[in-house]
Subunit: 307 residues, 4 copies
């Protein structure tokens, strides 16, 4: 049996073992866990971590199981996943499940979009390089060229796609941005302080797969210049919110939030500095939860299986 | 020289010593600290803690000095304070100061208003009895009779003043409440989840001396049922806000705020339970800052000398 | 199907439904979850929350399942539990499980032991009375008579058992204390700042069922006067630790810990005051986790299934 | 009058204004504040922030004043400082003061020493480049060559000084390291996970000017492998400590500490990852306090004037 660290890659797994996940949700009824666990046991899967939650108000059931299973070799993990999916499909259909198997050892492909602020990007790049936050980074896209040197030092392709102010120009630029994303087939898109609003057609393209960091403790100070709003109101804490992007600006399902204490002497510039740290941390934590398949979206809310 | 604990009463002071405070604010100019400190030194005052802050945007100056000074005996502290005030007045007028001397050894007289929720009241009563939060408690006033037994167990007078829904009845009830407060000449009034809105005439009567606890992280979820709003939005943190009461509902200067993490599985009832703890803690911390004269109100914001 | 609140009693359960829990741990192998979930499904149990964890270093498996199941009426819940246990025993033996079924709707019987400090006791009494922390409180036992009035105001029996300094006298006193506990058959014993060390025979009597609050962030400042040690070292945070009591003083499995920031100006008396709040909060959180069967002891550590 | 941001450089100061600081401590007696404030006022200094604290146990007085004063131009700030020092000396001697004037607009010269872990270094480099943490960085010195590329990307000189294991070799290497530091006349030296113990002669060379980050919440887990110790003990929080380096290993005056929550499922590798974030944050906060002259060392403790 393999070791089962909670974090992707946080301990070696023998090549003869694959560590996979099954994420599922469906209307609740008796026997779901039994059926799914039996399915896994019949295939010799060893559950290393599993969480199940029943939402009383919606009568919905959510589950995340991480398990180790024998495989001929790393190159056969894909075939194994496909096979499991085929075999599981009838069960899933019987329960009206939304479901997916994922490979805990395959880093997700993440595209990072950024504008001029570099703090979130630098935070993610550093953790990408150290392997502390395991993901593949095929490219970074920005509407400005400022951060090219930083990105390229990490050996990551950088695409500069200016976004004009006029509607037509903006639409064209976002189409080109979308095309660049499509080329690398990302699993997840991170808006690391990307100062452009995604149009509905772009949001719809990656449902629950676009992650944004908002520089306020939503729903406080929705929209622009939250620090100016915070300074105006005289709050004692400022925060940041990591959420999925939907058509409704700043209203997508919240993944993670945190706050930091400020003092009467903190200027807006100080708030921006303090905010950068909490934004970077909240985005990295939210992204980690997402990459580990610990975030299940339910309507406009999230279920977090953070063990 | 006397010891100089930071918290009122946190260490004994010889009877021959009075520990006093000077709180002042005025338009900034050169020499304020020198003039004030010289005034104190000329009278043999030993500064035990002092904070000075210049607000750049308003060009205003704020100061809090705590000092020990010789006095014939405890009974003469009042005379000493009055004498200092008389001597300081011309200096204060020269600088256009808002100012006051306070007696750090005289506990403030606090009246607590409450409705049916007992958590903040119980928290304050316990810390009052233990002396951990030093203040005098001449009475508790409530628009319900539910908490009489709790209050009377502590040996504190309890007044039940029902507040009818109709305007005239409510006005009369609040007049009677105000009269009960006046009888005991409170320094500070605490609304410990008192579910009645104070009318302008009552707010105006105790400027920057009425402290309220709001069960949300303002400005999020202003108004009623904040936990329902929080549950609806799917936030990951809920909070509480301690602020001075002004005519604008929930918009007074904020003294203290804090938050607590919630989980997807937390029901509104769980949020209310978690909220009780953070409300009680935030109100107690805010009240302590106020009782120690560490809160200076500047427009709709506060300066906190919490050093 | 019943609602499935995370906290005992946080939502009504129809009388025709029992909410039960199965807590189990055993050497890991394939099929545990399948077997257990099938057992529950066969009896019409609806899982409302379940957590499974595989400890890689010890190759041990831990599980907690909360489920709703039909029952004739509240009075038959005991029979239902007994029946389930009988039927489950062979399965458990097959897996070499440590296991128990518990009744999520039956409040545990908790005996609180205390000396002179009343902050933790008052905190627990208030949450007991409000129902925010659901448990039965058959009695409070103290080696001093100081807190009798507080306890009796809550209508709870108070036993005063002085503990002499001499070995023989102390042994006799603790035997009498144990006898008083036995009379009420407690599920759990809470040492809410009980300033006496339990002898091995008493610790052994309630394995993983005696909860202590230590007024430091263990392992810092083991033993007595931790605030003096903290003041001496000049630390910037002080803490509290809630742990199970074992023969090794201050070395039992840790359930919960937290810290609070202190300032250079905080005296030992201030630390004690700040410490009281964090002690009370940490003990209450630790006790809640224990009462909800979320704490699984594994050697000298704990697994927390806090969802 | 100038604006008075709390953080160095957080708002522009007219060239005709210098923002300076006076840091002082001495045996307490009446009149210190008056004398110092009068000295400043006589020279037209406008106090923008000042803190005074009397330590009761040692009867010692501590002060930090930040003030704006007219100056012919930036280039004359040094002469102004020197002049003020000459004029202030007799006053300081009269009070037996330890004292210094500092230039709030002159960034300190900081040398960073590092081994192989890059998280603290990357954190400090990023904040240095963004100006969020204002200091000059003449060079980085390491006993390994691993981080050269990172440092040089920032345009900062990197010196590789291997440190052999044998006593003679180590002594020689540290002498060379000290020589490299002397060349750039650092105000402050930061050990950003520099895995070498400084010998007494090197500690003595920069009293209260060498800052270390320790990867545990001291005094817990002194010495090596704190995460292994934490994992062994089963604590629920791990931390980091920023302190001044003295001859006593890990026993110097503590500047800042913080903790992060861990879960039963966190492996030592996970703790190291979580620890990196808290180490980086604690070191940056501690360094900021130090760079703003907010840390006054008193015996083996620190006074923090963080307003």
């Amino acid at each position: 049996m393999t070791s089962a660290p909670i974090s992707a890659g946080s301990s070696p797994v023998p090549a003869s073992q694959a560590r996979l996940r099954l994420i599922a949700s469906c209307p609740d009824r008796v026997g779901i866990v039994a059926r799914v666990a039996t399915f896994l046991a019949e295939r010799g899967a060893s559950i290393t971590e599993a969480n199940h939650y029943h939402d009383a108000s919606s009568q919905w059931f959510f589950m995340r199981s991480e398990f180790a299973i024998s495989v001929g070799g790393a190159e056969q993990r894909q075939a194994l996943l496909a096979g499991l999916a085929d075999e599981f499909r009838p069960i899933a259909e019987g329960f009206d499940m939304e479901w997916r198997f994922t490979d805990a050892q395959r880093p997700q492909r993440v595209v990072i979009l950024v504008s001029r602020f570099d703090h979130c990007l630098a935070h993610l790049l550093h953790r990408w390089k150290s392997g502390d936050l395991p993901y593949d980074l095929p490219c970074v896209i920005s509407n400005h060229d400022d951060l090219r040197s930083l990105v390229e030092w990490y050996g990551v392709p950088f695409h500069h796609v200016p976004v004009p102010r006029d509607a037509a120009g903006k639409e064209a630029a976002l189409k080109r941005t979308a095309a660049l994303m499509d080329e690398v087939a990302p699993d997840t898109i991170v808006l690391a302080r990307y100062m452009q609003v995604f149009p509905p057609w772009l949001c719809a393209r990656y449902p629950s797969r676009i992650i944004n960091i908002h520089h306020s403790f939503l729903p406080s100070f929705v929209g622009g210049r939250p620090y100016h709003q915070a300074e105006e109101r005289g709050v004692k804490l400022i925060g940041a919110t990591c959420h999925y992007v939907t058509e409704q600006l700043d209203a997508g399902p919240i993944i993670e939030q945190d706050v930091v204490r400020i003092r009467h002497s903190d200027t807006i510039k100080d708030m921006m500095r303090l905010g950068k740290d909490v934004e970077s941390a909240v985005l990295a934590r939210g992204l980690r939860l997402h990459l580990e398949d610990r975030v299940l979206v339910h309507g406009h809310k999230t279920i977090l299986f953070s063990e």
